[in-house]
């Protein structure tokens, strides 16, 4: 009897790119739901716009590059980029913000470099940073957490604002939007207030900003699940959060009137989203175990530096992109000791 032949190993596990990507998307659900709960329909509108643009752009680029469209889209990476970008965007952003960010992320930052696996920079963060430096005003249109809002937009009203730029009569966008807690601290410290005075306001909760701390907890929960499932390894989140925590602790201990507490930093802004979902993007991150720790710590420290002394209230995107640049060097110097190559 004759048989077909293949190369060993003949057995393969159940691990799959598509499964990984879908796992990460699923893990983002608690944070996403909490973000929707606290910041309204804008979160979901952004999500739909960003994800559909990412998928559309990926399909168009694949077709132009003569690559299999359906199979490649099945890996879920484009949808995940859209999801991560949307989670980073302000809820009152006009429709073209998520669309433009998604286009830039997929077309320039991913497909022009060769598609999945070949992009040196995190596509979602490239898209986000392009928006942040090109459209600073639109990128500050954050919503207040729901209990702090004077008026809350319904889904239809949110769509009208996003797509047509119209608001219910008698409200202006300045009236319904609100600066983020990190932004508030930055501005008010500039006005000479102390942190104790600033954080006495209702925008601040017991850990981070009110509402924000819950969203961060949501992402922490999802991140924990990813760790448990083995989708991500501990080094990058631990390095990121550890680096941020230690930096914050040092300066908080030195001057607690000017520098926010370590816990505040961990539960504000995009800390948890960044640590578990963004910095862990395998394609653009370091790949050696020690390198991942270095990479994570680097991001954590940079996030703190940008938050404390930089020109932007949060710095996850910049920190991730800066460390993306350092990845080849980190990988080179952190190669593991090979079996039989001496030392312990």
């Amino acid at each position: 009897m004759e048989f077909r032949t293949y190369s060993s190993p003949h057995l393969s596990g159940t691990n799959h790119v598509g499964r990984l990507m879908r796992g990460v998307m699923l893990a983002a659900l608690p944070g996403l739901i909490l973000a929707w709960w606290f910041f309204g329909w804008g979160v979901l509108v952004n999500l739909v716009l960003a994800v559909s643009t990412c998928i559309g752009a990926e399909a168009a680029m694949l077709r132009m590059r003569r690559r299999p469209v359906r199979v490649t889209l099945g890996d879920g990476s484009a949808a995940l980029t859209g999801l991560l970008l949307a989670l980073a965007l302000p809820p009152f952003a006009p429709w073209w913000i998520p669309v433009l960010g998604a286009l830039f992320a997929i077309v320039i930052a991913k497909q022009l470099y060769g598609g999945l696996g070949y992009n040196p920079f995190n596509p979602a963060m490239v898209g986000y940073v392009v928006l942040l430096i090109s459209f600073p005003r639109e990128m500050t249109l954050w919503a207040p957490p729901q209990e702090l809002a004077d008026a809350r937009l319904s889904l239809v009203q949110t769509l009208a604002w996003s797509l047509l730029g119209t608001l219910p009569a008698g409200t202006g966008i300045d009236a319904i939007s609100m600066a983020t807690p990190l932004d508030t601290i930055k501005t008010q410290l500039g006005l000479g207030l102390t942190l104790t005075e600033i954080q006495a306001g209702p925008r601040f909760g017991s850990l981070g900003g009110y509402g924000w701390e819950w969203v961060n907890l949501g992402f922490l929960l999802g991140g924990g699940w990813l760790l448990y499932r083995g989708t991500i390894q501990w080094q990058i989140p631990a390095g990121f959060l550890g680096g941020l925590f230690v930096m914050a602790l040092l300066f908080y201990a030195a001057d607690s009137d000017t520098y926010a507490s370590p816990l505040f930093h961990l539960f504000s802004g995009a800390a948890m989203l960044g640590a578990f979902f963004i910095a862990t993007d395998p394609v653009s991150a370091s790949t050696t175990p020690r390198g991942r720790l270095v990479y994570g710590i680097g991001i954590g420290i940079l996030v703190y530096i940008i938050r404390a002394w930089g020109g932007y209230p949060d710095g996850v995107a910049f920190a991730v992109l800066l460390m993306n640049m350092a990845v080849p060097t980190i990988d080179y110097y952190t190669q593991p000791r090979v079996y039989g190559q001496g030392g312990e």
């Binding site: 060993s8 190993p9 999945l116 090979v338 039989g340």
Partner: protein
């Protein structure tokens, strides 16, 4: 490496160590261990490849038409790294020529074909003394003459492993009973049913190596084998410390380097051998073959083969004659199931695919795995590497498999070697966990083969260059010598000329002077 035994750190067997990475795999061993070991009858025709080992193929010492007996030498070892081949039964040599052999290349190789006479008449056995009266080198010779090679699958001549050289003192004999690959259970069945053969063989090897300690490492998914060995060891009151050590079931704990790490904490140096760190490692079936060779004076003519997978009706372990066509094994196990799709020799991780079941069982055939598409589906189309690092996490050699993949892919072989490509043991863990389903091991084999080819080309080019250079040198030298000779000749001629001129002048002067004298006298005389 070490000049004397003291150079090794003291052997500490009190605790187990870990190797990096590894995988928990589905075991799939139960089907073939459910029934006891059976002996397959001698088939009507045996095909005995001349190369069933690593090294030079053996050279036939029989001709077509010769009558041979069971255990008779039919091909002798050729060179040092080589072992002989023996007739697995009595009968007539009907052909010596190329036959398809089990090899990843799927190519044919020289083999001797014997048609059995059905009598299975052995060669006249020669009496032999107690192995303890034989010195190590005599034992090694006997092991070599019996054609024994590593039966775990690699097929390296055993006598070479038994001769690490005077500068490599051995302080531990390790028996690799881990059998970590899924499906394979031939060593398990041997250890369960014939533990005394393994222990007897161990005593012989300990004597041959002059070591006092032996550890048998067995994965803890084989409690019956562990119990059988422990009982045998407990009932054995001879000198020598033999221990049975259960180790956690984790693929590839049966890799020689990994097993050494688990049991001793030592690491075989990169590009080195276990003997460099005072260890000799053997497979239980090899040890049992040594027992047969020394105690019963029987060469290696049979082995235990696991026949399993959902592609066969009744999986089992069979003791078969070397050279038996594989289809006889399948028939003995109830034949194929309807969905059979592939047949592998070895396990699903490191085994290779066979093209047909007409191939003969060789000394290294530990397992025949016939599978259905449901069991081992055909490989999925690969996707791009996403650098997820799962391969790094599981690599038992602690390599960076994804980096090696990039370098192999880009044909950057220097870089691949910088990243220690040759420390890869091709266990397949990386490919197993790869979410992009990249055939990683295939890339490493490709890179290794290319590097070997380049190395061969380089050596060839070096030889050619050396030859060219020495020719140039010779031509130069000859030219120089010719010039030298010419110069000398000229000088000789010139000097000769000078001398003769001088001599002529001198002679003329002499003559003139003489004439003058005589002239001066003669005028007076003549006057």
């Amino acid at each position: 490496m070490a000049d004397h035994a003291g150079d090794h750190e003291r052997l500490d067997l009190s605790r187990l160590h870990h190797f990096h990475g590894g995988l928990k795999l589905p075991e799939c061993k139960a089907a073939a261990t459910a029934t006891p070991l059976r002996t397959l009858p001698v088939p009507p025709r045996l095909i005995l490849p001349l190369q069933q080992h690593i090294g030079e193929p053996a050279r036939p010492v029989v001709a077509i038409g010769d009558q041979v007996r069971k255990g008779q030498l039919i091909a002798r070892a050729e060179g040092y790294v080589s072992v002989p081949v023996h007739a697995s039964t009595s009968g007539r040599v009907t052909d010596i020529g190329d036959y398809p052999v089990p090899h990843p290349s799927g190519l044919s190789a020289p083999a001797i074909v014997i048609d059995s006479d059905g009598d299975d008449t052995p060669v006249a056995g020669t009496p032999h003394g107690d192995y303890r009266s034989l010195d190590p080198s005599e034992l090694r010779n006997r092991i070599r003459r019996a054609g024994i090679v590593g039966l775990g699958g690699a097929g390296f001549p055993t006598f070479i492993k038994m001769n690490p050289g005077p500068h490599k003192p051995v302080d531990l004999l390790l028996i690799n009973g881990a059998e970590c690959e899924p499906y394979i259970s031939c060593d398990d069945m041997l250890m369960r049913e014939r533990p005394q053969e393994v222990i007897e063989g161990i005593h012989i090897l300990m004597h041959a190596l002059q070591v006092g300690t032996c550890v048998i490492g067995v994965e803890d998914n084989k409690p019956e084998a562990i119990a059988a060995l422990e009982q045998t060891v407990a009932a054995d009151h001879r000198l020598g410390d033999i221990r049975v050590q259960a180790i956690p079931t984790l693929y590839p704990s049966g890799g020689e380097k990994q097993l050494i790490r688990i049991l001793t904490g030592r690491e075989v140096p990169s590009q080195g051998l276990p003997a460099d760190i005072g260890i000799v490692c053997q497979n239980p079936a090899t040890v049992a073959a040594v027992y047969h060779a020394i105690h019963r004076n029987e060469p290696l003519i049979s082995r235990i083969v696991t026949v399993t997978g959902t592609g066969v009706e009744a999986p089992a372990n069979l003791e078969v004659r070397i050279g038996t066509p594989m289809r006889h094994l399948i028939e003995a196990c109830g034949g194929y199931t309807p969905g059979v799709d592939r047949m592998l020799m070895g396990g699903p991780m490191m085994g290779f695919a066979l093209t047909s079941d007409a191939l003969p069982v060789t000394k290294t055939t530990n397992c025949l795995l016939a599978t259905t598409r449901e069991e081992l589906p055909p490989p999925e189309p690969p996707r791009p590497c996403i650098r997820c690092g799962e391969c790094v996490r599981v690599c038992p050699a602690q390599l960076l498999p994804q980096q090696l993949y990039w370098f192999a892919h880009a044909r950057d072989f220097d870089k691949a070697q910088d990243y220690n490509l040759f420390d890869c043991i091709e266990c397949g863990c990386c490919a197993y966990v790869c979410p992009s389903r990249l055939p990683l091991v295939q890339y490493y084999r490709f890179a290794k083969t290319e590097i070997w080819a380049q190395e061969r080309d380089r050596i060839k080019a070096d030889i050619a260059r050396q030859r060219h250079e020495s020719r140039q040198e010779r031509l130069e030298r000859e030219k120089r010598e010719r010039a030298e000779r010419l110069k000398r000749k000229k000088q000789a001629v010139r000097e000769g000329d000078d001398n003769s001129k001088q001599a002529a002048i001198q002679a003329a002067l002499e003559r003139a002077r003489a004439r003058k004298q005589t002239g001066a006298d003669s005028p007076e005389k003549s006057d």
